[in-house]
Symmetry: D2
Subunit: 231 residues, 4 copies
């Protein structure tokens, strides 16, 4: 297992999705850039690569690794599942759950959170609205990422287009559960987007194409990290 | 990528499922046993470990590696998917699809087969009955594994309890598609089970707990391989 | 459309599921018994028959009718869906959602609630635990029915086996949302079960086999209604 | 139960989907038009209305009624399911299965067909390609409707845009199973579309918006029926 650094806030969590630009060797390169920038600026950058890339990146870097999904079933006769055990064995320290591209049943969210907690895998639960974020915060994930689905991959950032979604999420969620960390996502492409998200109360961002499909991912990551140190 | 040996028939395909006994380091050990026995007896043994174990085993062995599932979508915004690209990148040469623990929609089976073919990933489609096997053979997978679900994990082998399922599958499928290879599975625990499957016309077996949860997996694998060389 | 009586609490909501005993003509007979007992004892009894039975019962009785499920999509190209429009047209005044036998994704629950609200269809959201009940109450359904799945159909009532589930649900949910009505369910077969549920703070019960598969459904319904009038 | 006329070929099967234009009272009106035109021209016209409309139309007309979906489970604890029993009780004589808007797992298709056969409910299985049609024909449904999904609702008929899909489907399916009746669908809006479908070997059409969303459904149905009598 790798010596992944602990999660610190504000957090930049980069979802590699299944983009061609962030697979295999290219995933490792981006991971290494994240590691360098993280060290240079003192800002925590975690990544969620494709499942098979997790163990390779875990061995080669100290970047905190998230899975993009986890199944709730215990080890056994569950062909094709992503077990929490295999994620930990592979070096992941957390998992995204209920992403808009991978929505889950409410009872499955609850069961998966319980499994993750019992094995100390951190959880970042996605929600499409601030109200759903509030609802899910009751199940006590480590993080809630509120992402209006219509802005995902749009290049129009939630902090510009719908700043209220962020401030409202912070208010609605923190009121019930101060321990849950709130990320915001969707359409984030500039350091300014990141900075204003944090100004609105978010404790970090969940970003994907804005980094992975950028012409210069290193440059963007640096811009993101800088925008957080200034604060 | 690893230098995986090509698939030969009769084939022993070992599905590691998500058993605790076949995760991480233990997966690698079983893979290494498979490699040795395969070389010693000249019988092809392929394995389907958990997703995250694929790249590690690919680097350490020449065992032909299958995934337990693959998604049909092309690389892109598909958080949590298992792409065919990532399987190939990780060193897999094939994938199980539509296992009884991971059944798929008929249009998804068709789309996934097309994706796998376009990237030369071999496909082992599971079917619960000989008639469904015949139906799926029309979509031209490389292999069809017929497994009566009620016998999976039962310790009662299909070759003993329902030999007709095997011979009928062979007849119904080969009549339509001579190129598809027929495996049989469910409840296989002894060399005798393997031998009689092949006598009934199967070109190999799909086995899971019979090997993975055995007290002595090496011994069982050896018994399986021997039973095929005798023929 | 029928002249369904309005919902009053305490409420007895009888889920007909797809039992043979509550299909077609037999559904209508049970509905008529519900109507009579409801009038006689002044206790509101609503029923959730199979989809196709709704319009027939709506024409023949004034029993408040719930659907067992509703889909969130608006009218259009959605072959096989149960639209909210068709439920209202057929005479339903409400719907059960997220039953343990028909669990839904969290975003689908949210979208379906929004559709139901916009067309004034009442909603009874099921939850397997008090915490999930609390979580779902934030989405503002009309009712939350908390049912430990392991007790459903068991004949062991939640009010006996897990009274804390009821009192805790009441506390956790009402604290956040006083407007949501709390039903409890699972294993309820006697008037005593109903009475103690209400004593623990529930505003009614969700019951299925306890009525539908009883030798004498009329007798059981009467026992239930009586137990609520005594209070 | 209604005295539904038996299915005859060539068949016009009108899928009402969940269109607003074919709900409730409007569904009944279209059903009555179908009945009249069917009698006048001697062409069999069947309809698949929304679930709740089935019993009402069954009582008022002799139009052969299909469901838009059916679940495979037997009567029991299956909240929200559409049982084959309830369809028969409600007056349906058949069901569409695996529509592109309601795709099913291959094992579920098999199980549902078995249930429908055991209770003599006719089955119209949808397929997106001629090859999938051939594959599904092995499971012996009564009808296969081949519909290229990209043409559904497009107004561009399969008989014009992809005539090969029809002739190829007929060849591939009839070669294996002469008893299965082949419908074609997607984009059919004129009598010419219907006529050329039948000339290419189809035994009928599956049509939805072409009738339901037409300004004058009666006129279109008449045009369809006429085009089949001329032959």
């Amino acid at each position: 297992m790798n010596m992944a650094k602990p999660i610190k806030y504000p957090l930049i969590l980069v979802n590699f999705k299944t983009y061609f630009e962030s697979l295999g060797g290219r995933a490792l390169l981006i991971a290494q850039e994240c590691e360098k920038i993280s060290e240079e600026y003192g800002i925590c950058i975690a990544i969620a690569p494709q499942h098979l890339d997790i163990p390779v990146i875990a061995k080669a870097t100290s970047v905190p690794l998230f899975s993009q999904h986890a199944d709730w079933e215990v080890p056994g006769a569950h062909t094709g599942n992503i077990t929490v055990e295999s994620l930990i064995e592979g070096g992941a320290i957390g998992t995204i759950l209920n992403h808009s591209e991978h929505r889950l049943r409410i009872d499955v969210i609850d069961a998966t959170l319980a499994r993750c907690k019992s094995l100390h895998l951190q959880t970042c639960l996605c929600a499409n609205t601030s109200l759903i974020g509030r609802s899910l915060s009751i199940l006590e994930p480590d993080m809630i990422a509120v992402e209006p689905p219509e802005l995902i991959g749009s290049g129009i950032s939630v902090s510009k287009a719908k700043p209220d979604v962020i401030s409202e999420s912070v208010r609605l969620i923190k009121e019930l559960n101060k321990n849950v960390h709130i990320l915001c996502g969707a359409g984030i492409t500039t350091g300014e987007d990141v900075a204003s998200s944090v100004k609105l109360g978010a404790e970090g961002v969940l970003v994907a194409s804005g980094v992975v499909k950028a012409k210069n991912p290193r440059g963007i990551l640096e811009e993101f990290a800088k925008s957080l140190t200034v604060q």
